[in-house]
């Protein structure tokens, strides 16, 4: 997901195997909503944030 709203159809056409346009149209609203919820969270990340590493983060 990019900063600008994502063109899911364009992206889907470039995938291997590609996703049929009719199927992309069905899932695009769900992805748009997920992107809208996720983008502000990602923007809030401090530069030194490191990924979750599993058991080490559970000690």
């Amino acid at each position: 997901m990019a900063t600008m709203p994502t063109d899911w159809k364009k992206l889907a056409a470039a995938l291997e195997p590609p996703i049929p346009t009719s199927d992309v149209e069905r899932i695009a609203p769900v992805l748009d909503a997920l992107e809208a919820a996720f983008r502000p969270l990602a923007r809030s990340l401090p530069p030194d944030a490191i990924p979750w590493t599993g058991p080490e983060d559970l000690e």
Binding site: M1, L34, P51
Partner: protein, 450 residues
């Protein structure tokens, strides 16, 4: 019979393993046509194994509390020589040549494998309405879903077909069916039970755990399944005096069915009445954690199934749509989600300085009807899948242990579940709190249908 009851009866020579196995097989023959809880039943090998285990007990060889107990595995746990479909057309003929580590451990503990239970296709969904193997039905009302993805395991335990069944939980797949079927389900701490030999869905979110009739049975099962455990099983007089029980003042009681909220709050009052110290707590932004968990799972599932994505006709429509979504999310966003996950996990972990466990509803409502795509909650209509996973998904992202257990029934007679959370590797706290509540609630009822 529960595991505890069966184990006592076996040692008192009131019943044999072979009789327990025959009873389990008889119930499956009678009830499975209505429930569709099993994809495969291994009657012949179960009877042979049962006789071997009876001989061992007669010789004084006792493998422990699971010795001679009939169990089932969710049909994505690899079992040597036994069909393992993952509820998918892709694996319709897959017969593994080895056992999953957890299957081997349970076998070593003396459990008798009766069969493999049905699930949502590829464990990727919460209805267990499987397009290839048929819908699994809820034993309390066969018009309703058992939850999922471990719906066959939940239904099999609730209907008394087996005393224990394994489940996997990537976004609630043990705890949701436990809630809808009125049984106990444990999602252990991440990686505390081996995932080796269990077909993966979300590589950093998958958990393997037991589904049982009682909390003590869950403890016994977990002790046999875990890589390491304390062997703790709550005593008959489980005591929670002084235990600090967190009650969230935000998120978990929003948009909740009234009967569910009432039953969970009543359970909290009971916990206080038996000596628990109720502490109001505020949880971090769980909506954010749910978003992070969703994104992680979409990508991980898509990667896990990438070799099969060209076989679009072999997937059910709901699973294919999720796989397509995951395929379209960027790697950069996936890594950002893992970075956010760590920040929120650290924030959540601060709760453990205030409380020993946290008590929440398990699902916002009781089991929906088969085919119901939305549920009415808090004056709005909510997507069934998102509603069912609302209190579960974030916990997978945190990796902490969580116990789902019954706490009451709706007026229509459907089970209501509550969830207990604890710090990493504190499963014993869950068992202690859960057993004390279970004793105090005294909800013991006959399995249905019968």
């Amino acid at each position: 019979m529960t595991i505890v009851e069966a184990a006592a009866a076996l040692r008192a020579k009131q019943v044999s393993t072979r009789e327990l196995t025959d009873e389990s097989l008889e119930r499956i023959a009678r009830l499975n046509p209505r429930l569709n809880a099993f994809i495969t039943v291994v009657a012949e090998s179960a009877r042979i194994r049962a006789s071997e285990l009876d001989s061992e007990l007669a010789r004084g060889v006792d493998r422990g509390p699971l010795h001679g107990i009939p169990i089932a595995h969710k049909d994505l746990v690899l079992t040597k020589g036994v069909l393992t479909t993952a509820g998918s057309k892709l694996f319709a003929d897959f017969v593994p040549d080895h056992d999953a580590e957890v299957a081997a451990k349970l076998s070593d503990a003396g459990a008798v494998l009766i069969g493999k239970t049905g699930l949502h296709e590829l464990a990727y969904g919460i209805t267990s309405n499987n397009p290839h193997y048929g819908a699994v039905h809820n034993p309390w009302d066969t018009e309703r879903i058992p939850g999922g993805s471990s719906g066959g395991s939940g239904a099999a335990v609730a209907a008394g077909l087996v005393a224990m069944a394994t489940g996997t939980d990537t976004g609630g797949s043990i705890r949701i069916p436990a809630s809808f079927c009125g049984v106990v389900g444990l999602k252990p701490t991440f990686d505390r039970v081996s995932r080796r030999g269990v077909l993966p869905l979300g590589c950093t979110l998958d958990h393997v755990g037991p589904m049982t009739r009682t909390v003590r049975d869950a403890a016994i099962s977990f002790n046999a399944m875990a890589k390491h455990s304390s062997s703790y099983v709550p005593p008959a007089d489980a005591d929670i005096r002084g235990l600090r029980i967190g009650l969230p003042s935000n998120f978990y009681f929003d948009r909740l069915d009234l009967e569910t909220g009432g039953a969970v709050r009543a359970a909290v009052q009971i916990a206080a009445a038996i000596g628990g110290r109720i502490v109001d707590v505020r949880v971090p932004d769980m909506d954010a954690l749910n978003t992070i968990g969703r994104l992680l799972l979409l990508v991980e599932a898509s990667v896990a199934l990438r070799p099969y994505l060209h076989r679009r006709a072999d997937f059910g429509a709901d699973v294919l749509a999720l796989l397509d979504q995951g395929h379209l999310i960027s790697t950069a966003d996936y890594i950002d989600a893992q970075r956010l996950r760590r920040i929120y996990a650290r924030e959540f972990s601060r709760l453990w300085t205030q409380v020993d466990c946290v008590l929440t509803p398990m699902t916002p409502m009781a089991a929906p009807r088969i085919g119901q795509t939305t549920v009415p909650l808090g004056g709005t209509s909510e997507d069934t899948r998102l509603a069912c996973t609302r209190f579960a998904r974030a916990i997978n992202a945190l990796g902490i242990p969580a116990l789902s257990m019954p706490c009451g029934f709706t007026k229509a007679g459907l089970p209501i579940g509550l969830q207990i959370l604890a710090a990493p590797n504190q499963e014993d706290t869950l068992f202690r709190a859960g057993a004390a509540l279970e004793d105090a609630l005294n909800l013991t009822v006959l399995p249905k249908p019968d």
